[in-house]
C-alpha cells in the first residue's frame, strides 16, 4: 500500500470517529441535561446565562415528583402491563405460529388472512371501539384494561410462523415416531427450539408496551391505575414551568427500562434487529 492511500485511509477513520463521537454527544446530551436539571432549584434552572451544574446535589425535586405522582403504583402497573403482554404474545403467538407453519387444518388460509389484515391496519382505528367495549363491561381503570388490546399479537404470530417454517420437518417427524402427539411435539420439541425468536418478540413487545401513550391515557383515567408514560403526561400538566420537578419525574419514569437495557444491551439490539421493521 502506498503512502497516499494509507493517509487517505487514516483520514477516513478519523472522520468516522469525529462524526460518531459528535453524534453520540447529541444522543446523550438530552439525558445528561435532564439529570443535571433534576438536581437544580427552580431558580438555578432559570439562571441566565445557564448554570451547568447544580450548586448542591439535593434530592428535593425527586421528593416532590414522588409526592405528586403515585410512582410505586405506576411502576407496578407498567410492570404488570409488560409482563402480561409479553406472556400473552409469546404463548398465544407460539401456538398459532406453530399451527400455521406446521399443521394442516380447515380454513387455514382464511384464518391467516385475518392475521395479515390486522398487521396492515394501523392500531388507532381499533381504539375507540375497544374502549367502548371495555366501558360497557365496566372494566376501565383495571390492569386488564391496559393489557386488553395486546392479549393476542398478529405480528407475533406472523413472526413466529416464520421461525417455525425455518425448522426442518424431520425434527417433528422424529418426535412422532417417539410417540409424541401433536401437542407434545410442540411443547417438548419444537417450542424449546425457538428461544431466541421468543426473546426477540418479548423484547419487542415490552419496549412498545412501555412506550405506548394513547391507549393507557384513554383506558385508565384514575391516577393510581396509570402507566409511567400516562402518569408523566399528567405531571406535564401539573408543573408547566417547574422543569426541575418534571425532569426528576421523567428520570424516574425512564430509569427502569434504561437499566434493563444496559444489562441486556446485546439482546435488546438483536431482538429489535430480528423483529425489524414491523
Amino acid at each position: 500500500m502506498n503512502t497516499s492511500m494509507k493517509s487517505s485511509k487514516r483520514l477516513t477513520t478519523t472522520l468516522t470517529y469525529v462524526v460518531l463521537i459528535l453524534g453520540s454527544i447529541l444522543m446523550i446530551f438530552p439525558f445528561v441535561w435532564m439529570l443535571l436539571t433534576s438536581f437544580k432549584t427552580q431558580a438555578e434552572s432559570m439562571a441566565i446565562p445557564p448554570q451547568i451544574l447544580p450548586s448542591s446535589w439535593a434530592l428535593d425535586n425527586f421528593t416532590t415528583a414522588l409526592a405528586s405522582l403515585p410512582f410505586l403504583n405506576l411502576y407496578v402497573n407498567t410492570g404488570l402491563l409488560i409482563v402480561f403482554r409479553v406472556l400473552c404474545a409469546v404463548i398465544f403467538s407460539s401456538m398459532a405460529g406453530y399451527a400455521f407453519a406446521k399443521l394442516q387444518f380447515p380454513c387455514k388460509n382464511l384464518l391467516f388472512g385475518i392475521v395479515l389484515v390486522q398487521m396492515m391496519l394501523p392500531s388507532q382505528i381499533f381504539i375507540t371501539p375497544q374502549y367502548l367495549m371495555l366501558a360497557r363491561l365496566g372494566l376501565t381503570n383495571t390492569i386488564f384494561a391496559l393489557v386488553f388490546p395486546g392479549l393476542v399479537s398478529a405480528f407475533g404470530t406472523f413472526f413466529l410462523r416464520q421461525t417455525y417454517l425455518g425448522i426442518p420437518n424431520e425434527i417433528a417427524e422424529a418426535a412422532y415416531l417417539d410417540g409424541c402427539n401433536k401437542w407434545q411435539t410442540f411443547t417438548k420439541v419444537m417450542f424449546p427450539l425457538t428461544g431466541s425468536s421468543c426473546a426477540a418478540l418479548a423484547i419487542f413487545t415490552a419496549v412498545f408496551a412501555y412506550s405506548d401513550l394513547m391507549w393507557p391515557l384513554i383506558c385508565n383515567t384514575d391516577l393510581n391505575m396509570m402507566t409511567l408514560s400516562a402518569g408523566l403526561s399528567t405531571l406535564n400538566g401539573q408543573y408547566t414551568t417547574n422543569f426541575p420537578v418534571l425532569m426528576a419525574g421523567s428520570f424516574l419514569a425512564m430509569i427502569p427500562m434504561v437499566i434493563l437495557y444496559l444489562l441486556f444491551q446485546k439482546q435488546f439490539i438483536q431482538g429489535i434487529a430480528m423483529t425489524g421493521g414491523k
Binding site: I114, Q124, T128, Q130, L151, S229, N236, G237, A253, I272
Partner: protein
C-alpha cells in the same frame, strides 16, 4: 393408510385448537372494532355510547372543517420533514458503524438509547431544551426563538425530536442489512480501483435497498400516525397548537376529550385511507429502486 388419516385428523384438531386463542382475540379486538369504527364514522354519537346512523354527515362536516385540513397538512409536512432526513442520517450512522473501528458496540448502544426511553419522557426533556425563555438552545445561541410556540417553527422542532428518537432503531435495522453484503464484492471493487464513494452507490445502496424499503414504509407509517410527541410537547394552551396538531392528535381530542366519537371515527378512517394510499405508492415505486437479486 388408516394411520395417516388419523394423523391428519389429529393435525386438524390440534391446528384449530392452537390458532383458536389468536383468531378469537383478533376477531374480538380487531376485526369487529374495524367494522365498528367504519359504522361509527357514518353515525352520530348519542349519550351513553349509543350511535344513530346518519349517512355521510361526519365526512361532509370534516371536509368543510379548516382545522381538519390543517391537521392533514401538518401530518403530511411532518412526514416530509422527518422521513428523508431521518433515513439519510440512519444510513450514515449504519455505514459508519459498519466500518472497522473500535467501540462499535458502544456507539451502537448510544444511538439506540432513545428507543428504550418512553416518548413521554423524551418529549419532556426536549420541551425543556426548546423552552423559549430558559431553554438551553436559546441561552447558548443568545436568541429568543419560540421553538415550540411560534407557528413557523413548531413542526420543525417536533420533527427534530422524532428524527433524533428513531436514528438508532433505523440504523440497527440498516446495519443488519449492511452486514449481509458480502465482503468479496468490496474486495473485487477495490481491485478494480473503484473509489469508496463509487462503491457506496454501486454496491452498498443496491444491496441494502430491500432493508431501506422496509425502514421507509415503517417510518412513513409511524410519522403519519404521530401522536405522543406532539401531544406531550404542544399542550392545549400553546398558541401554536393548530400548527402542530397531527391527524391522530385531532382524533384523540375529538374522540376522548370532546367526546364526538362519530366525527373522530371519520378522521381515523381518513387517516387509514391516507396511509393505505401512501403504502400503495411505495410498493408501486419500489420496482424502480429496490433490488431483490441478492
Amino acid at each position: 393408510m388408516q394411520k395417516t388419516s388419523k394423523l391428519a385428523r389429529d393435525g386438524a384438531k390440534w391446528g384449530l385448537i392452537m390458532v383458536a386463542p389468536t383468531i378469537i382475540g383478533l376477531l374480538v379486538l380487531n376485526i369487529y372494532p374495524f367494522i365498528d369504527a367504519i359504522r361509527m364514522s357514518f353515525s352520530k354519537s348519542l349519550p351513553f355510547g349509543m350511535f344513530e346512523f346518519e349517512g355521510i354527515d361526519n365526512y361532509v362536516e370534516m371536509f368543510q372543517n379548516a382545522e381538519f385540513w390543517k391537521a392533514t397538512w401538518n401530518t403530511i409536512l411532518f412526514c416530509i420533514l422527518t422521513v428523508p432526513v431521518g433515513i439519510f442520517l440512519a444510513l450514515l450512522v449504519a455505514v459508519l458503524l459498519n466500518s472497522k473501528i473500535r467501540g462499535r458496540t458502544t456507539f451502537r448502544a448510544i444511538f439506540f438509547l432513545p428507543m428504550v426511553v418512553a416518548p413521554a419522557a423524551v418529549a419532556m426533556v426536549w420541551k425543556w431544551i426548546f423552552n423559549t425563555q430558559y431553554g438551553i438552545i436559546n441561552s447558548v445561541f443568545g436568541v429568543n426563538v419560540g421553538w415550540l410556540t411560534d407557528s413557523r417553527f413548531v413542526l420543525f422542532s417536533c420533527a427534530i425530536v422524532q428524527i433524533w428518537s428513531n436514528i438508532g432503531y433505523d440504523a440497527v435495522l440498516l446495519l443488519a442489512g449492511l452486514q449481509n453484503v458480502s465482503a468479496t464484492l468490496y474486495e473485487a471493487a477495490d481491485l478494480d480501483g473503484a473509489s469508496k464513494v463509487k462503491q457506496f452507490f454501486s454496491i452498498t445502496l443496491p444491496m441494502v435497498s430491500p432493508t431501506l424499503f422496509v425502514v421507509m414504509i415503517m417510518r412513513l407509517m409511524s410519522s403519519l400516525k404521530v401522536f405522543d410527541l406532539i401531544y406531550m410537547m404542544v399542550d392545549d394552551a400553546n398558541p401554536a397548537l393548530n400548527d402542530a396538531q397531527s391527524l391522530m392528535s385531532l382524533f384523540y381530542r375529538q374522540s376522548f376529550i370532546a367526546g364526538d366519537k362519530g366525527y373522530a371515527s371519520a378522521i381515523v378512517v381518513w387517516t387509514v385511507l391516507l396511509i393505505g394510499v401512501v403504502t400503495i405508492f411505495q410498493f408501486w415505486g419500489q420496482k424502480k429502486w429496490v433490488n431483490y437479486e441478492v
